[in-house]
Symmetry: C3
Subunit: 142 residues, 3 copies
């Protein structure tokens, strides 16, 4: 359980926690709180063959109050370091209309106030991501 | 694991369960089901300084079928009572268009049919929210 | 923890895993990944009385890159077989606009690349769905 402080970067804080606590495998059970800014990665097109590269992606920034509706993902080991892979759903409101955005969590999602995060460490599970030659990506059980 | 009955208030039922079971710390692992009505709180503006007050918030009501896509949050102790802090994502459909809404869970989200909720109690973790003088709010680890 | 392979059906894979592993009760803790196609069920109208039937439902198909923002739900036993009940939230992007869809997970959600799923088996909990005469549906604790 962690309470992230005002002005913290959401992904940066998660990475800092799992690094400090030495979490080698885990799952994000819950995340609630408010952001003042967000930056999200989404996929705009599919390549003929995996992997996805930055040509297939869009990075969008938002500057407004955004409630964290869901934060889900996992912690694995990649190249010797714990890696947080998380996706997020966010809500905002304007003129009594609720809008929802979301995507792959990247740096640039900044906590306004506090956020309450619950991570669960998974013991005795090998969640090491290894290099998969075929797709040229780091993958679990590759 | 709880099955909420037709006509139950979602937040009210969660509060009733954690109160009855004496849950002092916990996490909402999953919630699926259908609502017939919803009421959600969102943040429309950021104050210069934390905390958020009702001047910064919008309360919106919906009367239509809404699938619970995600229900996440935690149970902590505040002023001696278990407090459910949850956010919810909901879907509806009209003329073959899916719309998504969400926000902070407040009273007024009414189950149509049944909802299946899974809570996990966290033992040996102090999740007491105490009064934080600086922000004039109840906060974990304040 | 499971890594679903390219071209896998999301619901079909989950059903295959819980069947193979003999999971009788469980919860989906996390699911992140990318779909190339999706098919979702939503509720468009409420009947006067439970249950919901196909007259109240809409089935919509999507063919585009869709990030899995949240995947939540449970595994119970129904008529002697493990049953995955899951809801999903998905994001896509077009012309720098993020759109969100979601609903009840049905067959037709196809993984592009890989998806990382974390399920938790619940032991010593009876999550058998039995026939409830009043609503003519299978329900927990009926």
């Amino acid at each position: 359980m962690a309470r992230l402080k005002p002005g913290s970067d959401l992904l940066g804080s998660l990475q800092e926690i799992v690094g400090r606590e030495g979490v080698k495998a885990g799952v994000i059970l819950s995340g609630v709180g408010l952001l003042g800014e967000a930056r999200l990665r989404n996929c705009k097109s599919l390549p003929e063959k995996y992997p996805i590269t930055d040509e297939n992606r869009t990075y969008l920034s938002f500057s407004r109050p955004l409630e964290i509706l869901s934060l889900s993902g996992n912690i694995t080991m990649a190249e010797g370091n714990p890696l947080v892979h998380a996706h997020v759903t966010l809500s905002h409101v304007e003129e009594d209309e609720i809008g929802i955005i979301g995507g792959h969590l990247i740096e640039g999602c900044v906590i306004f106030g506090f956020a309450e995060i619950i991570l669960m460490e998974l013991k005795d599970i090998d969640m090491e991501k290894n290099y998969d030659k075929e797709t040229r990506t780091f993958q679990l059980f590759a």
